[in-house]
Symmetry: D2
Subunit: 438 residues, 4 copies
Amino acid sequence: TTSWAVCLSRTYSSSSDIRSIVELPDRIHPRYLRSTKPGSSLLSLKWPRPPRNLLVVQKLYSETVTDAVVKFAKHIHNEYPDIHLILEPRVASSIQERVDFPVYSSDDRPYIAQKVDVIATFGGDGTVLRAASLFKLHGSVPPIVSFSMGTLGFLGEWDFQEHKKVWREVYMSGSDVAVRDAAVPRGNKDSPEEQDDGNNPWALIKGKSMGAQRASKVLLRHRIKADIFDANGDNINDRLSDNLLGDSKSLAGPLAGTLEPSPSLRAINEISVHRGSHPHLAIIDIFQNGHFLTETIADGILISTPTGSTAYSLSAGGPIVHPLVKSLLITPISPCSLSFRSLVLPLDTKVTLRMSKKNRGRELDLSIDGKRCAGVSPGSELRVEGEFVGRSHDGRGEEWAGGVPCVIRTEDDDPWVGGLNGLLKFNHPFGRATEGED
Amino acid sequence: TTSWAVCLSRTYSSSSDIRSIVELPDRIHPRYLRSTKPGSSLLSLKWPRPPRNLLVVQKLYSETVTDAVVKFAKHIHNEYPDIHLILEPRVASSIQERVDFPVYSSDDRPYIAQKVDVIATFGGDGTVLRAASLFKLHGSVPPIVSFSMGTLGFLGEWDFQEHKKVWREVYMSGSDVAVRDAAVPRGNKDSPEEQDDGNNPWALIKGKSMGAQRASKVLLRHRIKADIFDANGDNINDRLSDNLLGDSKSLAGPLAGTLEPSPSLRAINEISVHRGSHPHLAIIDIFQNGHFLTETIADGILISTPTGSTAYSLSAGGPIVHPLVKSLLITPISPCSLSFRSLVLPLDTKVTLRMSKKNRGRELDLSIDGKRCAGVSPGSELRVEGEFVGRSHDGRGEEWAGGVPCVIRTEDDDPWVGGLNGLLKFNHPFGRATEGED
Amino acid sequence: TTSWAVCLSRTYSSSSDIRSIVELPDRIHPRYLRSTKPGSSLLSLKWPRPPRNLLVVQKLYSETVTDAVVKFAKHIHNEYPDIHLILEPRVASSIQERVDFPVYSSDDRPYIAQKVDVIATFGGDGTVLRAASLFKLHGSVPPIVSFSMGTLGFLGEWDFQEHKKVWREVYMSGSDVAVRDAAVPRGNKDSPEEQDDGNNPWALIKGKSMGAQRASKVLLRHRIKADIFDANGDNINDRLSDNLLGDSKSLAGPLAGTLEPSPSLRAINEISVHRGSHPHLAIIDIFQNGHFLTETIADGILISTPTGSTAYSLSAGGPIVHPLVKSLLITPISPCSLSFRSLVLPLDTKVTLRMSKKNRGRELDLSIDGKRCAGVSPGSELRVEGEFVGRSHDGRGEEWAGGVPCVIRTEDDDPWVGGLNGLLKFNHPFGRATEGED
Amino acid sequence: TTSWAVCLSRTYSSSSDIRSIVELPDRIHPRYLRSTKPGSSLLSLKWPRPPRNLLVVQKLYSETVTDAVVKFAKHIHNEYPDIHLILEPRVASSIQERVDFPVYSSDDRPYIAQKVDVIATFGGDGTVLRAASLFKLHGSVPPIVSFSMGTLGFLGEWDFQEHKKVWREVYMSGSDVAVRDAAVPRGNKDSPEEQDDGNNPWALIKGKSMGAQRASKVLLRHRIKADIFDANGDNINDRLSDNLLGDSKSLAGPLAGTLEPSPSLRAINEISVHRGSHPHLAIIDIFQNGHFLTETIADGILISTPTGSTAYSLSAGGPIVHPLVKSLLITPISPCSLSFRSLVLPLDTKVTLRMSKKNRGRELDLSIDGKRCAGVSPGSELRVEGEFVGRSHDGRGEEWAGGVPCVIRTEDDDPWVGGLNGLLKFNHPFGRATEGED
Ligand SMILES: NC(=O)C1=CN([C@@H]2O[C@H](COP(=O)(O)OP(=O)(O)OC[C@H]3O[C@@H](n4cnc5c(N)ncnc54)[C@H](O)[C@@H]3O)[C@@H](O)[C@H]2O)C=CC1
Ligand SMILES: NC(=O)C1=CN([C@@H]2O[C@H](COP(=O)(O)OP(=O)(O)OC[C@H]3O[C@@H](n4cnc5c(N)ncnc54)[C@H](O)[C@@H]3O)[C@@H](O)[C@H]2O)C=CC1
Ligand SMILES: NC(=O)C1=CN([C@@H]2O[C@H](COP(=O)(O)OP(=O)(O)OC[C@H]3O[C@@H](n4cnc5c(N)ncnc54)[C@H](O)[C@@H]3O)[C@@H](O)[C@H]2O)C=CC1
Ligand SMILES: NC(=O)C1=CN([C@@H]2O[C@H](COP(=O)(O)OP(=O)(O)OC[C@H]3O[C@@H](n4cnc5c(N)ncnc54)[C@H](O)[C@@H]3O)[C@@H](O)[C@H]2O)C=CC1
């Protein structure tokens, strides 16, 4: 328990150098407890000890968002001195310039999954998607706290105004220490209570009591995962993965142990195949659990999660599926058929999309959560299925695997309903006359 | 030209007795001129002489609406002394009680088509539909000025606040007399101008000049008409017509000459056949111009006008068709098929719906513009086609036949667009983020 | 184990009197085991001892179907002498006339749930629905074997040609006795194997070995259940139940112990509220887990099971949901809104439909699986939620409760896919040209 | 009238050189007469004198199609010696090699509109679209006779087996000469009848009388036309036109007189704007007759003709519009909105699509009839409206302008209905049970 304490350099002065996440202590995996409230399917976040490595993912090119991140960073630094802030390489230096303490850059991307305890996002739905996409090759995603900036999104849960309160709750989740008023000066160790807890970092956080039972509520968003095979039946995830990992030169080393040989690609919204700019319709054979289902002739096809049901799939005519329904959706995009309707299948269904030879040599665009990641040629196959959720299989009982744990509001049991009405303008009636007529 | 002048009794004092429309002078048919503005498909209203018989149709059971009608009635009486106000029997006495001049009741319903020059409606879309339905058996409908009360409707064009201005314009349409300030006291006949126009009732209307060219703009809403045949092929419109005419015992007399032997039933929104409360699906064969098109198994089927495309058909999944597109729509209601899509056919298409023998004896509900008018049994047929629009065929060149002439706004060329956005909440985007994301 | 043996009267000769099910031995509850095949969600049927009371439900007014039932009855009587055949009162005598052994009538309807071990249906989907509806007030439904007659249905699984094979498999499910060739004359007790099994009725069934592991596969179709409350908040299921139970005068006696005081109404397809023949739109407030979701103005609203997703909900525009997805669907029927899309919610969601006061006094039609069961007036509420599935709560560990166990094919893991393509004509492409063009 | 006779070289022997259409006599414009049959909206083809220049457009890379074209070419050469066969440059030599008479190449593309009298297509819908696209910049399209090869298409009207009969009817349309048995040897000039008609090329065609009144029926398919303006408001059709005309180096010369300065681009199916391979949604402002209608956030947007309503628009959820309904459709492709429904507007509506600045610099794909023709950048505008149909405005009374005249079957008044059922699999019912159930 000392390694991470050592990493905190309170005597730091130069703001010029950005540190690497390699230096950070290893990730802490929280546990997720079933809510005791009957009927609730939300989980309670429980840290075995306080999180230390906080990754910030922000919307780019927005002054407002950057200002918010700086404000948040300063707050964290002042009130939670044990926390290391990790930033994306693209923005790390611009933030570093504006704060007088060191930040870490997630440049060594393969280490992200080994180091990040918790994620905070600042932006819109796209920012949350990008944060999740950093864990596209990993079964285990840290909890995500998402702050909407300006416009409310479907995945953005919190207003930036709430950041102090929300972060405190996330941080304290699982502690048995009462949280008291944040206004009490930090570092004041005179009170007897804190002296006892000298070795409990949670005890450092002053504040009004939140009650011992108070813990952040987590909605576990299901993901789907895909493996890509070429016309010879060889798994070619690697080729796409390289592409996806972008600047990272090699997956050797740290990833070698933690990942499957060819890690599957995970999507939180959907996996899509689309004709892109090709004028001709895409022709794709769909198989369900190994059985031929249908040949689709369409602009493309979507395999969506319930989370993604309110994204592209909805635009393409699909139903709205609650994130807690264990399912995956098949929704065609502009199908050349009067009779293709969205299908909602069990989450563990194995869906295979085979790019038909009839596509005559041309590649189709494969995208994950709206980001194009490859061209797939005729004969190649995409094998999709829901991601396993639960204790990880690799024997490390600590690690919860599967899904994207999103910290959500507790006031209301189901923020999703608010999203329907507020964001989707669900069921706006025609006109205003509901009183009937003579 | 004296008959109508005689009918005006300025010395009337008792408000207790309601007069019959039979006493009123015969109807004046306006002409509808193509707009000179290129590209415009609206018509200009042109009265050969001022209208005299004004039918008021109002929403029932609404205090606000009744107040508005009384206000309107008094304004008309004061400013347009030559106008006779006709009211529906159900409301005539309640209005009569509140005004000190005589009103007429449309009780002798067969005479409506012979007497009414122009209609004003006060209420919602249902009120406009009811007004039009009074002419369900007639090819020629007087122009309709529709005032929305409270909530805006799709067919209600004018805000009640505008009633003075709007009515003046309708009344003056076609006159060459300049309209001057309504504030000038009426009856003041000293000015030389008015003395010259002693025999021109338009000259009695004082007011600010509206310009000689100013005329009300009319959107001619297309109707569809239906004839019903029993399983033996006999036209049974009569039976339904009786039903439709309600209290009127006989069509003999005034109607004998003006109507076809079995007048077709006209709809401004749609004609529908529906299973109603029967648990089993309706089975209906559809023919297009005599050719078998398809057998529908559904809750029901709609044949709609473009006007009706924003009513029931829209709810059932149909497209939005501009009222100027000469067409009729076939839209199924909850069809037992993945592949039934709305059809938009030329307005002059002959569509036949034949109630299949497979319905096993049970009747289906036939409705016109949302009012159930009959049960149709297996083997019977509904023959629908667009109503002819133009000069009437019966040799009386004066009379324009076909369609429902609706007085609409002129500020904007197309109030329909406003309706889409304001009333249908057309294309409300999800969320609010349109700026894209990193 | 003797009671049922006694009930079998081999010396029966007069076909005139029909027996009552009250005489029959009590119901045997099978167990449902998870399939050992990984990934499969189907269950294996396992009888603790052979079923004895077989209820036949058949399509009415069809000569072909009646012939099939007679054929089936004779086969059962000859090959499975321990089985008692129970028929619906409406058909019992017409079948009895054609066979020379006694049949039982389900006249004493309250006893059905106490006596019937297994059900065989002959007809279409409607027949299966009717069979299930006999258990509308009961948590525990016996396994259903459904034979399609003539046309294939979505719920009808087996071709009548297969009846001997299918029934044998159902009957033997769970026995450890090998099934041998049916051609071996029954009653031949010379073989040593059968002598040992003298007291095992399974041993009486000759036949080719099906292998000890062979058991019928069961798809457990989820049901939803509804409780109805009047405007005062009082549960009024009773009033509807009486109605539903039809001729049965009283629920006293045998039902007293087994049913909840006001048993919920179960649907296998959907629960619907509809305007019926009323011209005006139904106005219904929808609540989800106690939170207001939306006010619907529509022809009606459907709460469907995944099974029902291919029935009315599909016609109304809903998605196709696999029966194994634990969910319920809300689909509006012709909603007066451009923006109502089907919702797929977790099966344990509590959905409340409140008939709005805006309906102005008029009742709406409440139907269960397509059968109208009541008119519901403004202010009354329908509370719907998925039915619990598992061991029954009442302490009788034997009894599996919840869902409708349907015996399905085993050749293919998922007959549902066949249904999509064969019955729904799913994704029929336009034209036939899939080869692209110059 | 001699020029074209001279062009026919019966003594031609070398098949090696392909001639240029520049040598051909000028185009003959047929007239289109309203059908006398009441209610019919089809036109009758009437040549002032026999057509001479026949353009063949064929599907590429198909052996079967090339064989058919060779067969057709030989038939034409043998039986209609006055006809010149024009082929597309890509295929001209491969056909020329297989026939012993000269063919013409449409290489000098600008001349096509000046020379081609009639078009025959061999292939699928794409081939008809390509034929029409040759006249994308021209108001006047020659009549098109379309032969389907193998698969039936929506636009392909005739089976290749019918080519002799169909061509004879097209050729003779408008002649008063009876058509007699094709079996009578051609060139036999002994009969008195032909001697009289020595100077009438129609008289050369032997054959069984088709009756003087028999003429090919023509469906005039409406087109829409578009003009493109850059962010400065400058018309940039030219830039696209060059692109569209492909190999043609210059529009100078023959086109100078016949075309508008920047000819509009015509579409027979639709004009589309799409995000293509860009991951982000396209943002497009839509204006109707100059009024702002809505901002669309979507994959793209389609402005379709009624003909195109069964193509891409149908896949995107649009209605089926009969080709005789004078309208254009706006259908969004996967719009980010629950409430965008297809709009059907009068054909003369001016629809403007403005690429929003919110697209942040990136271009959208503009396609005409499925062929990408340009990238359009933010700020640029697409102005679309229906094409004028009627006598051309340029004073040359002969020339009919607007629309694509397609020769269609006469047996049935409306081949479109057959297309719905046969090709679109319109309204295929679920299951097969239409008889109801008990
Ligand atoms: N035609 C369409 O509707 C298309 C939709 N998309 C969606 O966009 C997603 C990528 O999002 P961005 O990177 O932000 O791209 P973006 O900036 O193009 O935004 C797409 C829109 O989708 C919304 N969105 C994203 N995920 C959502 C969810 N789960 N529920 C509700 N709304 C959601 C965003 O708020 C935004 O309004 C993809 O996963 C795909 O689902 C992508 C392409 C086309
Ligand atoms: N499920 C549905 O959407 C149903 C719709 N209707 C429609 O209601 C009409 C009768 O109207 P009411 O007597 O007022 O009955 P109502 O009082 O039940 O109102 C029906 C609704 O349709 C609106 N409406 C009527 N005509 C319209 C039009 N042309 N465009 C846009 N909205 C329109 C009205 O404003 C009202 O909101 C029928 O002609 C039919 O089109 C009737 C039954 C069911
Ligand atoms: N517009 C519509 O589509 C309507 C549909 N229905 C459906 O009919 C059901 C009652 O069926 P019946 O008594 O046979 O009435 P019915 O004889 O009117 O048949 C309704 C049709 O639905 C089919 N069907 C029933 N359940 C199905 C399922 N689970 N999946 C696929 N198809 C199914 C039947 O095969 C039949 O073709 C109701 O539960 C309701 O779902 C009822 C009324 C209207
Ligand atoms: N998702 C979709 O449905 C897409 C459709 N298209 C359509 O394809 C057309 C171009 O056709 P091709 O060059 O043959 O491309 P293609 O070879 O990709 O074929 C498109 C399909 O559309 C059919 N088609 C074309 N015009 C039709 C019409 N008017 N009515 C009914 N079916 C029709 C063709 O027979 C073919 O099956 C475009 O004008 C566009 O309408 C183009 C892209 C995507």
